[in-house]
């Protein structure tokens, strides 16, 4: 039995799986903002992030029975979020292969609701950098998994995450 079993999140999950739709609203209220931020971090476009967030919540409802409470609900949710956003980025890149590719910087310019802070912060990170950070801190992938996906060594993966965090720390503190 997991120590997380009787958390408020798990109580909501139990209620939902027993047919209480209002409990789903409770989960949504707790995490919608956090999921949206994570979507935005990966796709760097507010409209796309909002669409992705909606799709993710539908996925949460459809796959809630897969959540086995071995970890915190938030870990499961953020991993689902990471995978959904990365799949979206991958399929988008694939469909744009024959057309004009847009860089994340161009996407941010087009998004009139983005703030200067966002532009400044995300412009300093490539899509690959954001993907690695998302896998590590949102999806809780291990360094071994990141290394395997990115086809780099484990020590290179560790070094890259460490370097990116140093860069982000400087940004946050300026």
């Amino acid at each position: 039995m997991s120590s997380n079993e009787h958390s408020p999140d798990n109580d909501l999950v139990d209620a939902i799986t027993q047919g209480d739709i209002q409990a789903f609203e409770g989960l949504y209220d707790r995490y919608a903002g956090k999921v949206l931020k994570r979507c935005f971090f990966i796709c760097a476009n507010q409209e796309e992030a909002l669409d992705l967030m909606q799709e993710i919540w539908i996925k949460v409802f459809l796959h809630l029975h897969d959540f086995k409470k071995q970890a915190a609900f938030s870990s499961w949710l953020y991993r689902l979020t990471t995978n959904h956003c990365l799949n979206y980025i991958k399929s988008k890149a694939h469909s744009e292969q024959s057309g004009t590719q847009q860089t994340s910087e161009e996407l941010i310019h087009e998004d009139s609701t983005s703030t200067i802070d966002v532009h400044h912060l995300l412009q300093k990170l490539s899509l690959e950098d954001r993907t690695i950070l998302a896998m590590k801190f949102m999806g809780e992938y291990t360094y071994e998994e990141i290394a395997s996906i990115c086809e780099i060594s484990v020590s290179a993966a560790k070094m890259r995450v460490s370097r990116l965090i140093t860069k982000l720390r400087e940004e946050v503190n300026t």
Binding site: G19, I21, F24, E25, Y28, D29, A32, G33, K34, L36, K37, R38, F40, F41, Q46, A49, L50, M53, Q54, W57, I58, F61, L62, T115, D117, V118, L121, L133, F137, E140, V161, S162, I165, L168, R169, E171, V172
Partner: protein, 60 residues
């Protein structure tokens, strides 16, 4: 996992200044979830109908 690195990442997410999703978005999600739950119920109802009854209906 390094807690300090996690903290930095959370600070970055906060620094994005992304507003909370609006009420309309929430209503859309909740409506979709409601329809899906109804669809699930209907699916369960159909699954509970003995196959022979369905065969009879098809042959008619």
């Amino acid at each position: 996992m390094n807690d300090e690195e996690d903290l930095v990442f959370e600070q970055v997410l906060d620094a994005l200044h992304i507003p909370e999703p609006d009420q309309r978005t929430k209503e859309q999600v909740m409506r979709a979830v409601f329809f899906l739950s109804v669809a699930k119920e209907i699916g369960a109802f159909h699954a509970s109908i003995p196959g022979t009854l369905l065969d009879d209906l098809i042959s008619e």
